[in-house]
Amino acid sequence: MTGLRTRGFPERAVRERARLGAAAAFPADAHYGHTLFGAEATADADQLDQLRITPPVFMPQRLEKLIELGREPLHTDVALGTVIGGLRSALPLYLSAFGSTRAAGTDQVLAASRQAGRLGIPMVIGENIVPMSGYGRGGEQTRRTALGRIAAYLTELPDGLGGVAVQQSTEDADAEVWNLVYSDPAAQPLLESGRLAFELKVGQGAKPGLGGMTVLDRTAAARVDEQFALDEVFGPDADRVLRCSSPGTFTEEILRQQIRLMRNNYPRVKVWVKLHPGRDVALAADIAWTAGADAVTVDGAEGGTGWAPVATLAHSGLPLGECLARIGPRADCLLTSGRFWEGSRVVKSLALGATAAGLGRAALLATDEDPEAGLTRLVECLALELRLLISSLGKYTPAALGPEDVWPTPAPSAAAPAHRIPEVLHHG
């Protein structure tokens, strides 16, 4: 353990799952037979957390499954395999980007990468990793480079599963992160097996409308002062400075054309687009999908590993649940991130149209708790909850979930693009 701490995040519960695995999905077994259990209020509950999952009494899809199996179906019959932005995943989960901040320590990041590979779920490598930490070629020794992470991920990755999504933000364009990866011999196994994606970073949940920020000591800052703006917010005599990235300017046409250019330049990779929880998130997602994006990630205003102003963390950006309501159910691949660590929040987000959920802070905490198997255990627990909850709804795949599975059923938001208001609900 490194003393990594979180605020506004159920750290203790995550660490417990990293130790106990699936057993942590239930109350401690010492209480079994002695204690009566009921609903408990959840601290820091947002709009998504406040929804309830609503199993019906009558379950035609359970009948279909019963006929298929020739026996009554159980939660173990839920098939969690999911195609995430063109990548086949063992679960409707992926490892979110960690960014270049120091909170994401080298060993934790590598341990998380290795375990994500073991689990067969996709992994996102964050923006600024290459300009800040290097790529890992040409004599760079640091293990936290993009190449170091890809190597760790590939060590236990099963054939045919998973994949790596490499982010590039506006300022990463200077480091040509995508060109570097696309032409690199080390990335060829991913490229040739169709398991490489590039994610265009338009925004992030913790600081909607702002670029990346990290706190650097002056020596590190001096190395990057040509690439990034440095702000002496801690005073002229302080050892540390704030490093700010530009968020990049986007209009509808800029987003559309950037996606087309990605498809033009990298025809063999999947194209992902990451949006902040902006008020026009539904329009932006629609433009991205229409331009050919294989996935759109909506990062809820929930926090992250980077440095963010208190004002934006507390007051800026739509809640993730509202983003999902505005986008509405559609056939395209929508990824969500923001405070995911257990099954019910994932099920609710899938019911509202998401295809998969990203684990960010939870993954870091779990690997901090146990570098070898913390994330694996956390995910085993989460997977058990997914199976239990999805089967409780009389459904047996994540894609079968729909808005009818939560209450209150979200109304189509007036902010969604008029031509895209729920045309097709998930079959369910």
Binding site: T170, D174, Y182, L200, S246, I259, R260, R263, N264
Partner: protein, 338 residues
């Protein structure tokens, strides 16, 4: 995979010999380089005669052509500042028009192309271009220059070097149409329709892919232009049509017989606000183009221009299997070589 040149072939294709002596002393190489030398002399003859000033091309700069199709730039340490080897001199060509209204240069370019291009027969990591830029020119005017230039070069080498063509086993009657008829012309949209009609899947928003180019090329008896590429397929400097937004005022020249693209060109963007916007549409960070944007903001001429790939053009004229055969020190993508 990085390959050493010891292996004679990669993916069934001929590779350059590992020993540069073997390549440089081969009768084929010597004949091809004589042909190429004559082509360059003919290009200079035509362009100088047409009033174009020859400029020495820059080799490094703080910024270069962002290029496309996944090729990586080469970084150079310039006294502690990150510079780039030229992937193309396009930004400098536009700037050069502040000195002369019509310029050309024969410029080296370095692009770390994706490894998969090692077997296209057309890609080299280091190659040369006959780069031409003309102030105030429209697309029709610049394609006329290109057509005349190509015809002049081909006419010169066919007339002056019959023995070299004979040594290479290249029948020069294949150039009859090129020398006597106007080049064909079709739009990108028409090319896409043709490819889809032929059963070749082609993204209508993107470049014609390499297989598609070779397919179109193999169905033609003479060079032809493909015009009006969609915006998401090219760099920020190709001018967007005012009448037809999303369509670029650009062109490629494709050789016949399956040899594929020889040349790309366009009318250029020259308005500051349009260039900044187009930079964003192509995912670029305008901050790194400081010197260029300052020039543009203060005013550069409207222009059009093109760049002919010297090795590709030589390959087509000489009827070679691969573009590397038209380079004395060939570097295929990913192949470690002298």
């Amino acid at each position: 995979m990085t390959t050493t040149a010891d292996a004679p072939t990669t993916r069934g294709l001929l590779l350059p010999p590992a020993d540069p002596r073997q390549h440089l002393t081969s009768p084929t190489t010597r004949t091809v380089l004589r042909l190429q030398q004559h082509m360059l002399a003919a290009a200079r003859e035509y362009l100088t005669g047409a009033g174009f000033a020859e400029m020495m091309p820059p080799i490094i700069g703080p910024v270069t052509d962002p290029g496309g199709r996944g090729s990586k730039q080469v970084d150079v340490d310039f006294y502690g500042h990150k510079y780039k080897l030229m992937t193309s001199a396009i930004l400098y060509k536009q700037a050069s028009l502040l000195a002369f209204p019509k310029i050309f240069c024969i410029a080296p370019n370095v692009r770390l192309e994706p490894l998969e291009t090692a077997n296209t027969s057309r890609h080299l990591a280091e190659f040369h271009q006959i780069d031409v830029e003309m102030a105030g020119a429209s697309r029709d005017q610049i394609t006329a220059v290109l057509e005349e230039l190509v015809r002049h070069i081909v006419s010169r080498v066919v007339t002056d070097l019959p023995a070299e063509f004979a040594e290479l086993g290249r029948d020069t009657s294949v150039f009859t149409a090129l020398l006597n008829q106007a080049f064909g012309r079709r739009t990108h949209a028409e090319a896409v329709s043709e490819l889809i009609g032929l059963g070749h899947p082609q993204n209508p928003d993107a470049e014609i892919d390499w297989e598609g180019e070779a397919l179109l090329s193999s169905r033609s008896a003479q060079p032809f232009f493909v015009t009006d590429y969609p915006k998401g397929s090219r760099g920020f400097y190709d001018r967007e049509s005012a009448q037809d937004p999303g369509v670029l005022r650009n062109f490629d020249l494709l050789a016949p017989e399956g040899y594929g693209e020889l040349c790309s060109g366009s009318e250029r963007e020259y308005d500051y606000a349009r260039i900044v916007t187009r930079m964003r549409e192509t995912g670029e960070n305008p901050a790194k183009y400081g010197w260029y944007l300052k020039l543009v903001r203060e005013g550069i001429p409207a222009s059009a221009g093109f760049g002919i790939g010297v090795e590709r053009f030589t390959r087509y004229l000489a009827g070679l299997d691969g573009a590397w055969q038209a380079n004395a020190f060939p570097k295929l993508p990913g192949v470690v070589s002298p």
